[in-house]
Structures are given as structure tokens and as C-alpha cells.
Symmetry: C4
Subunit: 277 residues, 4 copies
């Protein structure tokens, strides 16, 4: 009978942690969201020298609290799911793991900036929470439009890169190292800066011919910025008539994939029976 | 009988101040528009050291004249409306109040730059005037398109912020404080400057790897600029077939909300009888 | 009989100068186009100190030749048209006059840079030539789309200006003169530079709060760039189904307005009989 | 019979080099693609002083290997095609030739940077390979949209140039050489930098009037960026309903033009009988 109760407990915790269709599940997600945002702000503030100097202890303790809470959550996620391996090696499983590890490592590896900065990956956890919330259902059409224009955007980016390499080489020949165009990769970097209309100004053409070519590059960049926009606009408009699928806020207790239909009795991914509670 | 006359007077002044469907009301709005623009220009010129030095007296007197006129208008607005409290605590009521107060405060708090700059909020008053004028009816479709794409734009901005934080942290690790990326928030600032193609150039990547990542960020920024445009274009196009509602230029004398139908006999908001004059 | 011959001559020259439906008229336009481009290049080169130094004589003589040719053309335009006054005070009449005058004035007013630069207005003459050429007929739809979205674009620009003034004032308060934000107009200038994603970097926020606000301004700018694009896209798409009017390349010899229908017998503007030649 | 065998060999090699509808042809294209990318990376690395210094020998040998392979391929292309002259003087024929020559020339002309940089043109060869691959068929619609909006984009660019010249001259008069606007061409360069929202900041307006005009230019630039986008969006959307033509991956062994229909028996360009193998 104890096993039965344990199973029931596991199912309940699973519902709270993975699902959003119960009040407790929604509250849990909200708290987790707050914790993630709070921990990311701590990571950012820690990197500011004068803030870290003054509030070092407070930031350090906060970080430990957050890390321990994330660790607890990770353990609960692993033990309440039927197939833990699938979760552990899934994208969000790895992200959850990486959210907890850096702080523990910092005990052994003192001052390793690289590893502490890894904690920023906690931000990715937000996507999981949002995925389950209704509100993102709004952007389904957007994602569909981006998906169907993926190949075209890729072709476009590919053309931009080839154009940048050729024009960058031309500028390297015209301006030369004495005007800051020290190498072809550096000139290509400048060309991308110009073509995308970023324009830092750390390097800028000095010779009249270089400025003339730069003018041409800018006008080209101005013209081709229209292309990805045109693609997405058209795809998005054509997709607007199609309906949106609903999000039920439930997750399969077996494989943690989303349950998309509210009247589903079995998981669409693993066939697990959903409604035995 | 005096009360009757007073009531009639109140109604007439109300019509002039709040409405635009009478010649006097239109003239009043035009004068107010001129006064607002004039007062904002004074605030701006006052902040230019060499202009303030030379024309200090003229600017000061102008400011006092404008403040007194705005005060008079505010008093008239309060006494001619049936429910003054509703007006006083409405958005435009607060803006109207904040337009007059700073100058009076400057008598007691000498040299408080913060408070004098508050006067720039007078600009917001322009929106009230324009709201009542036909001409803005033109932009109804635009506002509708923005409204219906609000959530999507928000989701998009949210993604941009998350991407910026992650990429900013990557650049902080790659470039480090010695190249100007002094902290994670500062690197995130740089990432937004780059992703939005602003590109000040106050910080720019110095290492080859940093420049390579920056190049990638720029091309990503170039690609995703298409997303909000695509959304607004499609929403706007889909909204173009729908009709526009008319603006009658009248306001309810009781609660000051707009009267949208020219044949309305009662206020749509408070049920006040509109046509007893 | 002499008057008759003179009238015939006038008509012939008129056809060559104003029309493009005869081979001679097309050749004249082509030569004029070349002359305009040539003269603009001369004006530009004259302003470059080291080129002007070396080729001063050549540029000066070229300029005189161009000026005399433009003067001759101007005189011919005046005497071959039936109603010279209408031409002289028309937009292109004034532009034609201003194309010739500066060089003559330079004889009396030595070294007046302002007046010589006026010659750049000759560029506007290109629009007259192009107006008569078929090729621009292609952009009719574009002009129609711009025309119908004129008011909305204006409303949008108006909002951008108000937002810039308010945000500029906020930045003036936050950053202050010690960080380069010397006055409100200067801060507004910076805000426009940022909002439009130009980003010179001559001024950039130094305080953390200023950088945070700047980040917000950039993301706003990124979002609202979608608005004018969305408007023009939708208007253009909706206009694409409508037909384009043809351009016959003929002009009325009486009032110089375009003849739009190839089978027209009378001028649509002044009723002049067109086909008596 | 030897001639027969030779003809058969020629046809087989032709199929591998020019076509992509056989496994060998696809493998050849893949290898060529890799070789091109590899050789372009070598050209880029060679231009970086400290990399060239350390790995000079390795880069030099790699370059020789690539050059010899490209030379072999060029010779095979010439001898396996029926009309070599047509290939040699075609666009890709010239590009293939220019991909091999610079390294041989470097034996005679020591240190000629200009000629070695020519090798970057090898990048253009990628387009030939991609042209034959299915995947680009995806971008057919994009190319069609760009094609049909070509004239309008050109008209737009033309207007941008005229506006830039006029506004550049205005800024030259307003700011003058003492503020960095040394000549009209230089001011025009600045105007394009501003109008396209690149904004290097190497020159920026210093006078209040100049900053005011710059603000106007930026807002104009912000507004007109909508135009090319609107055109491409609308054209692309209108083209989306039309079908895409298929790419069969075959090329005519006589004139090397693409065979577009899979059931074609004769070359659409030169009438050569296609299916005698």
C-alpha cells in the first residue's frame, strides 16, 4: 500500500512541477519564473566590479539559496518522472543540470569566470515555463511563419555572407592596412558592420574611392534589408487565415511531452494513459 | 434664475473647452495647441546655457504667462464639469495639473532642474487635442493593427531581451573587461546596441573571436528585424478592409468622455442626457 | 508668311525641347541629361580643395560652357511657349532659372560659396526629363502607395517627434551636461540618432541608468520601425491590382502640361488644339 | 572505335562535372564546394599578418594544391564540352579561369597583393554549384519577386542618390570644412551614412542647425526605408500563389545550359539531342 501512496505522491508532485492545469502547478511555475529572473539578475550584478565589492556576501548567499532550490527541483523532476533518462538527456534536462552545477564547481575551481557565467543559461529555462503558458499560443502563427521562411532566410543570409566576403576583399585592396583594414577577415567584419547598417565607426574608409565604395555598399544594404522582411511579411500574412492549435497546459507524466488536446486519454508521444488520477 | 444662467454658462464654456464641434471650440483647441508648442520650445531653449544666459528674463516671463494661462484653463476645466473628481484623477487631469505646478514650485525650490524638466510633459496634452480632431481618425486602422499585434510584438521583444542577455554574457567572457566589456550588464547593453543596428562604437570587439561573434550577432539582428515588420504589415493589411468609426468632435459635459455617434442622445459612458441645449 | 514660318519653327523647337515623342526630342533630353549630370559632377569636384587647385581652369571653363548652354535653353524655352509667364513662375521654370544665375552672380560676388552651391539644384531638372520618359511609369504604383499612406506616415513621424522630445528630456535629466547631454535640444538630437538606429556615437550614455534607458529606447525604435513599413507594404499591395496610366511623351505647346492620352486632340489643361501640325 | 570510346568517356566526365543527377556528379559538386570554401579561407588567412608569418609554408602549399586541382578541373571542363569557346567566354568560364591564374602570375610578379586577392572570386563559383542543387529551387519565388521589383528598386535608389546629393550640399554649406564636411562629395558620403542609418560617427554635425537638419534627414531615412520593403513584400506575396519550376539537375553536354524539364529530349537552348546515352 505504501508503494501505491508513493506513486500517488509522485503523480501529484509531477502535476505541480510539469503541468500548469492545476492552481498549484501555475503557482509553482510563477515562483520558478521569479526565481530564474532573480538568479539571472544576481549573475549580472556579480559581474559589476563595484556592486560585487560592496554586496559580495549578500550576492554569494543569494546564489547559494538559488542553487540549492534549483538542485531540489532537479532531483524532484528526476524522481517523479517515469523515464528519468529521457528527461536527463533532453534539452531542458541538460539546461536544468547546468543551472545548478557551476556554483558547486566554484568551490573547487576558485575564480573561474567562464564557469560562473554559465549560470546565465538558466534564462533558457524561462522558455519551458512559457511554453506551457497559454500566452505563447499567441505566437504560434509567428513561429509557423518563421518556420516556413526558414530556408529562404538561410539562402538570404548565405548570399549576404558571400557578398560581404567579396566586398570586404575589395575594400582591403582599396583601403589597405594603413587605413585600418588590416586583413581580409577584418575587412569582411567591417563590411558586415556596414551592410547591416550597424556602423560602429571603429574602422571607416579614409580614401575617396573607399568612401565611394562604402556609399554603394550602404545603399545595397538598404535595398536588401527589404528581402527578409518581405519574406516574413508574406509568409505571415498567408498563415494568418489558418487556425491556431490550443495549449491545454498539461504534460505527460511518463515522457514529459505536452498534451495538446484537452480530451486526450493517451499521450500522443509515448502512449501512456493520461487520466488515471 | 441665476443658477440657471450659471448652468448655461458652464455648459457653454464646457463646450468650448472640451468639445470641437463648435467654431469656438475649434479655435480654443488651436490656441491651446499653439500655447503647448510655444511652452515646450521655451522649456527646451531654457536648457541651452548660452540662450538661457542671454534671454533669461524673456524666457522666465514667457514661462510665467504660459503657467498662468494653463492654471486658468485647469480651473475652468474643473468647475465646468459635472463630476470634477473623475477629471482630476483621469490621465489627462493629472497631466494638466503637472503642467502648471513646476513653475510654482520653482519659487520655493531654487535651481531644481528635475522639476522644471517635468514641464515637458505638457507635450502629452497634444494627444488630447488631436484625439478630438478628425485628422487622427486616419490613423485608427494603424492603432487597430498595433493593438492586435501587441502580444506578438511583446513576445518578440521578450525573445530579443533573452537573446541579448545570453549573447552579452558570451561577449563578456570572450572580450573581457580589458576590451571595454567591463561587466555583464554593460555587455548586454552593447549587444542591444549591435542587435538593433544602432552601433554607437563606444565599445566594439577587439579580438578576432569577438569580431566573429559580433558579425554573427549583426546578421541575426538583420534577420530578425523582419519579424515585427512582418507582423504589423500583415495585421495592417488584414485590417484595411474593415471600416473606420467616425469622430463627432463632441464630449459629454458630465464625464468628459467622447461622444462617438452624432445622433447620440445620452452619454454612452454615464447615461447623461446630451441634447438639452 | 514670315510669321507663319516663325510659328512653325517655334512649334518644332517646342516639340524638341518639351516633348519626347520625336527622335529629336528624345535626343535633346538625353543630351540635357548628360549635361546636367556633367555639371553636377563639376560642382562637386570644385568643392574638393586639392582637385580645384589642380584643375581650376578646366572646371571654371566647363562651368561657363554649361552655364551658357543652360541659358540658351532657358531662352528657347521662354520664347517657344505660348504663355511664357506660366512657365517662368512654374516650379521647373524657377529651377531652370536658378541653374543659370549663380555663375553670372559669381562675377560680382567673389568667393560666395553659398551661391555657387545653389547650382546643385540643377539635379532637380532631372525629374522633369524623367517625368516624360516611359520608364518612370513603372513607379506610378509606388507613388500612389506613398500618396495614400501620406497622412499615416505623417502621424507616425509626429508621434516619433513627441516620443523623442520626452525621452530626450529624460536622458538630459539622467545623464546631464557632464556626460555630453549639454541641453534638451541636444538630448533630443541624441534620442533621434538612437531611435532611428543611426547611432553616431558622438554622444553615448555613460551612467548605468542612462545605458538602461538607452537600451529601452533602442528596443522601442526596433519595434516601431515596423510601422511605416507595414503601412507602405499594405497600401502598395492593395494598389497593385489597379492599372497604371500611360505616358505618351507629349507636352501641350501652349501650357507645357503633359498630354496623357495618345489620341487627345485638345489639351486637358488649357483646351489648346493639339494636332495642327 | 577509339573515337567512340573517347566520346563516351567525354560524356561520362561531362555528366560528373556539369550535371548533378548522378551520384558521382553530386559527389563531385560536394568536393568542389569543400575545395572552394577551403581555398577562400586560405586566401583570407594569408592576409592576416601574424597567421601568414607563422603558417606561411602550409598556406603556400595548400594554395598550390588548390590551384593545380582547379587547373585540372578547368582543362576537363574545356575538353569535355562540345563547344569550348562558348564555355570559355561565358561568365562562369571566366570566373573558373580567374580562379587559377593569380597563383601562376605570383611566380613572375612578386608581392602583387591585387592579383592574389583576385582569388576571392572563387566564391562566385559556389553559385554555379548551388544553381544546380535542388535546395536553391526554394528561393525561386524570392528571385522572381526581386526581378519584378527590380525597376522600382532602381527608381528608389536613384531618388535616394539625388536626395543625398542635395542634402549633402546643404550640410556642406551649413557645417563647412571646419566641422569635418571638407567637400561636397564628402558631405554626400556623410548623408548616405546617415540616411541608411549606418552612422559611423567619423563625421557628425557640430552646429545646432546642422544637428537639426541631421535629425530631419534621419527621420526621412527612417520613413523611406519602408519603401523597398513594401515593394518586395507585396511582389513576393503576389508571387507566392504561382508555382515553382523544377530543377532537374541536368546540363546540356553541348552548351552547358540547364535542362529544366526532366522529360526533355532536346536542349532548349541549342537543340542538341540529350538522351543518346
Amino acid at each position: 500500500m505504501n508503494a501505491e501512496r508513493l506513486k500517488k505522491w509522485k503523480l501529484k508532485i509531477h502535476e505541480v512541477i510539469y503541468g500548469t492545469h492545476t492552481p498549484a502547478g501555475r503557482l509553482f511555475d510563477l515562483l520558478l519564473l521569479g526565481l530564474i529572473v532573480y538568479s539571472v539578475i544576481i549573475v549580472m550584478l556579480e559581474s559589476v566590479p563595484y556592486i560585487d565589492k560592496e554586496y559580495h556576501n549578500f550576492l554569494n548567499i543569494s546564489e547559494w539559496v538559488v542553487t540549492i532550490l534549483f538542485t531540489l527541483e532537479y532531483i524532484l523532476r528526476v524522481i517523479t518522472i517515469n523515464r528519468p533518462k529521457k528527461y536527463i538527456f533532453s534539452f531542458f534536462g541538460v539546461v536544468d543540470f547546468l543551472s545548478t552545477v557551476p556554483k558547486y564547481l566554484s568551490l573547487f575551481l576558485v575564480g573561474s569566470q567562464f564557469i560562473t557565467a554559465f549560470r546565465i543559461l538558466r534564462l533558457l529555462r524561462i522558455f519551458r515555463i512559457l511554453k506551457l503558458v497559454r500566452f505563447v499560443g499567441e505566437s504560434n502563427n509567428l513561429i509557423r511563419a518563421l518556420n516556413s521562411s526558414k530556408t529562404k532566410i538561410f539562402v538570404f543570409v548565405f548570399f549576404v555572407i558571400i557578398i560581404s566576403v567579396i566586398l570586404g576583399t575589395v575594400m582591403y585592396i582599396v583601403e589597405g592596412p594603413e587605413n585600418g583594414y588590416t586583413s581580409i577577415p577584418h575587412s569582411v567584419y567591417w563590411t558586415v558592420v556596414t551592410l547591416t547598417t550597424v556602423g560602429y565607426g571603429d574602422i571607416s574608409p579614409q580614401t575617396p574611392l573607399g568612401q565611394f565604395i562604402a556609399t554603394m555598399i550602404m545603399i545595397i544594404g538598404y535595398g536588401i534589408i527589404a528581402v527578409p522582411t518581405g519574406i516574413v511579411s508574406a509568409e505571415y500574412a498567408s498563415g494568418m487565415s489558418k487556425g491556431d492549435t490550443l495549449d491545454t497546459g498539461r504534460a505527460c507524466p511518463n515522457c514529459s511531452s505536452d498534451v495538446l488536446q484537452s480530451d486526450a486519454h493517451y499521450c500522443r508521444q509515448c502512449g501512456y494513459k493520461l487520466d488515471d488520477h
